[in-house]
Symmetry: C2
Subunit: 471 residues, 2 copies
């Protein structure tokens, strides 16, 4: 019997795909940047079937690439071109195993789409706060394997901070059931932390127990026009002091980036209205969420905006007056990536910095890019509250995006040199995958790389878990 | 030259202690439960000197026990009785390296007492929220090595959640500088997570970069009398919904425990007053902290208490009217361990449970202990908001504490069997050390122990880092 037929016997005929047509959707990443090939795709239905699959892989020395919603931005879930690997898709493992309202926890299988976890929480009047553009299709397993960030990190943390327990299948098929729902447990090494952010290179996450929160009773969104980035940072400090943890998001959008969205949306109803009479160099989008009531939240936001305008760090402000308003302001922010794609794309970076270096980074990098080519335009937006910018470099209006792509290597050199100079990170929330693996190896210390290799060796001695990614 | 003289040459004569008198304070744990012996005590002044020390240990095959403030409760920082180990005390490494108010981070050396970190933050109008009974003498290095909890976990998390970056010296003397001050950094395995809670068994933490927060402007403490534990849990849910993250602490105290404090404090001023006219089965202590103002916080707490009394889950409530009041209520809670020690001590447990199992656990365990010996009395208090109880078993008034100690093994069997039955943890915030190492090995799965051993082997192949602790 051929090895692949043995796998079919273990999982059932329909759970192993190997025709070219069936394989295709699993072999190219979401952005269409990477295409690999694979021996087959396995679609296990349960943790036990994942264990059978990994034991089969061990027996036949087959590398394995875990794939959730295939929405990653760095090619982490796309196999290499050798055709030797098995893609293990978690899409059939999408059960919510339990919602525990007494303990405020939810246990979901790896293939469960993020949005279904949010909805299961909402059905019990709880909040699962992880929130991403791709939430309709990305999966909890992928969110944890990449330590996903998103728009609510400022208050609730990354995927890591939301995880209490985890079930993992290791390279040899061993199942580790670490599905604890405890806020405190100091009984040895916190092993789940290793798998969070490991991008499938240490084992395959099959389920997780996650934190739920009380639903906020009121939510107000403010769009604030700022004279410069330093003012937006001052506004962030002021908002933190005024709101404390009620400040659930603080995003920024540069004017170049904003005009792109506005132009594309012109005439598209409320969202397309010119929100401010004149352009402003930077916009900040704040979200205030609280358990009291809308009137209190409105009042607090108004005070914050008024004081910020009096202090000269804000020039104008728009507050949401309803949840619809709030959604509409958010949708403007969320339409940025699509607007950038429609404009022909740009050279993307997902960087983080200590907040005190942010304004200098943006000024220095902007100047260096102008010196390289006056047609280049940084189209910057991101999660300022987390020190995280999507520092994307495109071209000025009328110049084709290709002009930026042709200078990609030089642009990257400028951006990453500035990140290193200011003690930042080359990948804040997107991970390394294939795209940034080499870069990470060049920028991390030898000591750190050696420790990472020792951990990899300890848990995956044959190097079969997602080879060519992260490490 | 004798090996110890070589160490003296490296660190300086005054940095290596080996007389019996000099060694003594380092060889017994805070509770006086464990006494070991040691080759010597090293007192390095810098990370470079820690590296020299560990290289010397590697050369001479000397095991090493890291010690901070020596305030641990499980014997984790006390050497074994072989006399072969070097105790490495971090007490001379107590510098605050930097406070970055723009980034809201602080970088402190391992031997810096927790209270000095709190004060350095306060001097910049920031909050470092980690808060423990031993904060005057425990050190940041020890806090991180044990993933310390304390009274503010509900809002701010354990020591783990407060840590952004770390500097560690490995068993072979390699220095890893991972002192990043970033809220987001997805560039590989999050190695610092391994060292947090590893109790010195993987490497020695020499410094850390920690999160700071805006100072809350108002703080109100309520002491609420509840008819039973289920009512206290219902109050917790209600408080969470009403306060959201403004609920910074939620503690409970059983009446047996409360009467002990009250009796010992009778006549000791405000704190000794009979706060309630009659005894109540359980007391809850809530802390509400917020950025608005005291009047708003008072008003919100009064509403919460009134609604809870109307719902029958609270019988009475006392609110702090000033910061002095708040401190005085907290001091009652904080005097419990001392009051228990003065009453002759008890058999201690530091357990956590899913909140839905808490009331059943307390009822079942109390009944089983009564069946074992009617003189036994659980003296329970702890961090209910984190699902964490200090479930200490003493004796009823008039019966010597020895009656509990004589039954220690049976009491432990009853408590830990119930913890296992309800999916809890045998050590919520105190760690394993020597005291609970065997118990952890018996209660953890074979898969989990195997992974822990693989990690230990990867980072400390010769097993010289704090042998006999945790693993």
């Amino acid at each position: 019997m051929k090895p692949i037929d043995a796998l079919r016997t273990l999982l059932g005929t329909d759970a192993v795909l190997d025709s070219a047509a069936d394989l295709a959707p699993y072999l190219t990443d979401w952005r269409g940047r990477y295409t690999g090939s694979a021996l087959a795709v396995a679609l296990p239905r349960s943790t036990a079937e994942v264990a059978l699959t990994l034991r089969w892989c061990a027996q036949h020395a087959v590398p394995v690439v875990a794939q959730g919603g295939n929405t990653g931005l760095v090619g982490g879930a796309t196999p290499d071109t050798s055709g030797r690997a098995l893609v293990l898709s978690t899409r059939r493992m999408r059960r919510i195993r339990s919602v525990d309202t007494a303990n405020d926890t939810i246990t979901a299988e790896a293939g469960c789409p993020l949005q279904e976890v949010q909805q299961a929480a909402l059905a019990q009047e709880r909040l699962f706060p992880l929130s991403l553009a791709s939430q309709g299709s990305c999966t909890i397993g992928g969110n944890l394997a990449t330590n996903a960030g998103g728009t609510q990190v400022l208050r609730y943390g990354n995927a890591r901070e939301l995880t209490l327990g985890m079930e993992v299948v290791l390279a040899d098929g061993t199942v580790w059931n670490g599905l604890r729902g405890l806020r405190k447990d100091n009984t040895g090494y916190d092993l789940k932390q290793l798998f969070i952010g490991s991008e499938g290179t240490l084992g395959i996450i099959t389920a997780a127990t996650l934190k739920l929160f009380a639903l906020p009773r009121a939510r107000v969104v403010c769009l604030v026009a700022c004279p410069d980035l330093a003012a937006a940072i001052a506004l962030l400090h002021r908002a933190r002091a005024a709101a404390g943890p009620a400040l659930t998001a603080f995003e920024v959008i540069s004017d170049d980036c904003w005009q792109l969205v506005r132009t594309q949306r012109a005439g598209a109803g409320a969202a397309g209205r010119a929100l401010f009479a004149q352009p402003h160099p930077w916009l900040a989008l704040l979200e205030w969420s609280e358990p009291e009531d809308a009137a209190h939240a409105q009042d607090q936001c108004e005070r914050l905006c008024a004081a910020s305008m009096a202090a000269g760090i804000a020039h104008d402000a728009i507050l949401s007056r309803s949840l619809d308003d709030a959604r509409s302001l958010w949708s403007l922010r969320e339409s940025i990536p699509e607007a950038q794609a429609r404009a022909g794309g740009n050279v993307k970076h997902d960087i983080s910095l200590p907040l005190g270096s942010m304004a200098a980074f943006v000024a220095e990098t902007g100047a260096a890019l102008q010196a390289l080519d006056t047609d280049l335009r940084p189209m910057v937006f991101g999660h300022l509250g987390d020190g995280n910018l999507h520092y994307n470099v495109g071209t000025q209006v009328g110049v084709p995006a290709a002009a930026a792509f042709s200078r990609e290597a030089q642009i990257n050199d400028i951006v990453y040199a500035a990140v290193a100079r200011h003690g930042g990170s080359i990948s804040a929330e997107h991970g390394l995958g294939q795209l940034r693996r080499e870069l990470a190896q060049r920028t991390k210390s030898a000591e750190e790389m050696a420790m990472m290799r020792a951990i990899k060796q300890a848990l995956d001695p044959d190097g079969r878990m997602n080879p060519g990614k992260l490490i």
